[in-house]
């Protein structure tokens, strides 16, 4: 049955409105990043710069990062963020999936308590952990290193991947695994050969979430990092707006670049995000 015409118009108008509200600020971020500093603070207002410039992006990518150049250091922080986020995602997905399977399929004592325990770790405000964790990382000699950040983030993000994967596994029908086990397969075998292949949407969704959490993290990065050895994007951006000097255009340029990887990844895997939050479509 075809929907009413008024309805169709309504939903399309609503969609356009939504698009404007969502893309508007992002578009403004981009426009500001290519506006020269003078035009950004000029009165009257410039909707689009009369002399757009990509000098800030050029600086970020082409200047040599030998310590002083703020823009070039941003490039290094992008690389750091990427390494840290990828490492964290890989480890937490691997570890979290194993544990998630146990929570989803196995019966054992303290199951609910342990699950709640893991969940509470995720819920901890970072401020609770900062100083003692700083000591641990410092004693391991991992301050201002990417590895130190990865270790820290894994411990915070694994509970999250464990929880989401556990929910996902639970929505998968157990018949297939049980059929395999009856055929002589072990639990673990069933896990690797049946559950994992079926869980691609869930894995992608969890991986994307984990990546974004790591990419986004600020407080620990602020306190654990100091130099371009390990400084990540959020810290670099917060430093652009300093006490004495803040070029809004540079903040926006950094923002555009900081948003690109997660946005691109999210767009690539977006089909999986929705599918990954439950076990796919309705059972046939």
């Amino acid at each position: 049955m075809k929907p009413a015409r008024a309805y169709t118009i309504f939903i399309h108008v609503a969609a356009v409105l939504m698009g404007v509200v969502i893309l508007g600020p992002f578009l403004w971020l981009f426009i500001s990043s290519i506006s020269p500093a003078k035009e950004l603070i000029s009165v009257p207002f410039h909707w689009f710069p009369s002399h757009p410039t990509i000098s800030r992006f050029k600086d970020i990518f082409l200047q040599s990062a030998n310590g002083e150049n703020v823009s070039a250091n941003f490039r290094v922080s992008m690389v750091n963020s990427f390494i840290v986020a990828t490492g964290t995602t890989f480890i937490s997905i691997l570890v979290g999936s194993l544990g998630a399977y146990a929570f989803a399929r196995l019966k054992f004592r303290f199951r609910r308590t342990m699950l709640f325990g893991f969940l509470s770790v995720y819920m901890l405000p970072p401020i609770v952990l900062v100083i003692p964790l700083y000591l641990i990382i410092a004693n391991m000699g991992l301050l201002d290193t990417k590895l130190g950040l990865i270790i820290t983030y894994c411990s915070l993000i694994t509970p999250f991947t464990l929880w989401t994967m556990s929910n996902y596994f639970r929505t998968l029908p157990a018949d297939l695994e049980e059929a395999a086990r009856v055929d002589g397969c072990t639990r673990l075998g069933a896990f690797f050969r049946i559950v994992i292949p079926l869980s691609k949407p869930g894995l992608f969704a969890s991986a994307l979430f984990a990546f974004l959490l790591a990419w986004d993290e600020f407080l620990f990065a602020l306190i654990f990092t100091s130099t371009t050895n390990s400084k990540t994007i959020p810290v670099a951006i917060a430093e652009f707006a300093g006490k004495y000097s803040s070029d809004y255009g540079l903040v926006c340029a950094g923002g555009v670049l900081a948003a690109l990887p997660p946005v691109i990844l999210a767009l690539i895997f977006q089909k999986n995000i929705v599918g990954g939050l439950t076990a796919g479509s309705v059972k046939g």
């Binding site: 603070i41 009165v43 300093g242 006490k243």
Partner: protein
């Protein structure tokens, strides 16, 4: 202090005085021999040290890199790792790194010696401090890192807030520039400019709820003859000059002379931006604003501005807020000799004179040195006067906590939530509670 023959000679003589335990070297006036002797002394200082600085203010990263490279020439066996963080993150970095002894040398703000010194996070360097420094440094500089009559750092970045104004606006509104000598004159000028329709708000300030706001308040409190804490250390800013200063601030907003954005999010750099865009006619700011607002590439008012000493209040007083910073030795350092060598090298007159355009030296005689004056004649002329007459925020261990509660109350008065007197009374009560806790 006379300009020394060579920096190494100076290092040698200072080290002898300090009695670092090194064997007596040959201190000669012959540069080459002195250099050789100094070289062997300096060569005894070894190791790797880490130093924490602040980004994008005072000395730039490039300046520090240059100074560090010069240091390496004199102390070839010391490796220095420099790190830069935003000012906002500096205090917390020092706090968290104290546990892990990450840094040997740290840059501290003038409001932190009491806190860090009392908690033994930075080293008491009184026994290393040569008497000559007290005479040779500007008075305002010496006081920077003093707590309880002990020195906890070597003054390095000297700064205060100057009064900047747009000469074109003054001319168009027919304001006599000499009248800008007093705050009264400034307000009259602002009214004239506003009446002439040149700008909507002639003034803007860094009154966002932060330490920046307190700097302005203190500078005005000094101008109106007020006291922050009385002789017994109790809050006294809610009487006399302290109240007048806040009333003055609030009145400038109510009268439509101050841009309301000042109390919202405006920090020092916003004042600079608005001034550079010709949006405001006058403002208080740190030394750095001069070069940037006079740069035609980033300012519309380049060449159309002047800098003055901060205006005087009704009683003629005009102290500048001491916004200086000092280099301190972290208490966890494993190499105090190298740390001390680095700190004193960076603060030495020769090094400071070389980068005077970014931050003025702490040494008195630098201000008559033509090389230094040439970097920024207008600012140096005012700096000579203002840096000798500065007002310090109280050196108490709980300064930060006290500052936070006062900022909150002052902020309320500025946006009209409370009267200045009530806000300051509440602030005084809360501040007293913090101090006594």
């Amino acid at each position: 202090m006379k300009n020394e023959e060579s920096i190494t000679d100076r290092q040698v003589s200072r080290r002898a005085i300090l009695g670092a335990g090194a064997a007596a070297g040959l201190v000669t006036m012959m540069p080459t021999e002195g250099f050789a002797a100094g070289f062997s002394k300096a060569a005894n200082v070894k190791g790797t040290i880490s130093a924490l600085f602040m980004k994008q203010a005072g000395y730039s990263d490039t300046d520090v890199a240059k100074m560090t490279a010069d240091f390496k020439k004199v102390y070839p066996n010391v490796t220095v790792k420099t790190e830069f963080v935003a000012y906002e993150a500096l205090h917390d970095k020092i706090v968290t790194s104290a546990l892990a002894h990450t840094y040997d040398v740290v840059l501290i703000d003038v409001i932190w010696p009491a806190e860090f010194g009392s908690k033994k996070m930075v080293v008491d360097i009184t026994n290393r401090w040569p008497a000559s420094w007290t005479n040779d440094m500007l008075g305002g500089a010496v006081a920077t890192a003093v707590y309880n009559k002990h020195y906890y750092g070597i003054p390095w970045i000297l700064d205060t807030k100057y009064f900047f104004y747009n000469t074109e606006h003054m001319a168009k509104a027919k304001v006599d520039e000499a009248s800008l000598d007093t705050w009264d004159g400034v307000m009259k000028a602002a009214s004239a400019i506003k009446k002439a329709g040149l700008v909507k708000y002639p003034l803007a300030w860094s009154w966002t709820q932060s330490e920046s706001m307190l700097c302005d308040y203190m500078q005005l409190l000094g101008a109106f003859g007020g006291q922050f804490l009385d002789a017994s250390g109790k809050p006294a800013f809610n009487k006399g000059g302290g109240v007048q200063a806040l009333e003055f601030m609030r009145k400038s907003i109510v009268d439509g002379l101050t841009d309301p954005v000042s109390t919202a999010t405006a920090a020092e750099d916003d004042v600079r931006k608005m001034f550079s865009a010709g949006q405001i006619s006058m403002g208080l700011n740190w030394t750095y604003m001069w070069a940037m607002a006079n740069d035609p590439k980033q300012s519309k008012v380049a060449g159309k501005m002047k800098v003055l000493q901060t205006p005087a209040g009704p009683g003629g007083k005009r102290p500048g807020i001491n916004g200086s910073m000092a280099l301190s030795m972290s208490s966890g350092t494993k190499n105090p000799e190298a740390a001390w060598a680095y700190m004193s090298f960076l603060t030495s007159q020769k090094e400071q004179n070389a980068v005077a355009m970014d931050s003025l030296p702490v040494w008195k005689s630098s201000y008559t040195d033509p090389v230094v004056v040439k970097t920024s004649p207008a600012v140096v002329a005012q700096a000579k006067k203002e840096l000798n007459d500065m007002i310090l925020r109280p050196q108490v261990t709980k300064y930060n906590a006290m500052s936070l509660v006062i900022q909150a109350e002052v902020s309320k008065a500025l946006i009209g939530q409370k009267t200045p007197q009530k806000a300051l009374d509440d602030a005084a009560t809360k501040a007293a509670a913090v101090l006594n806790a």
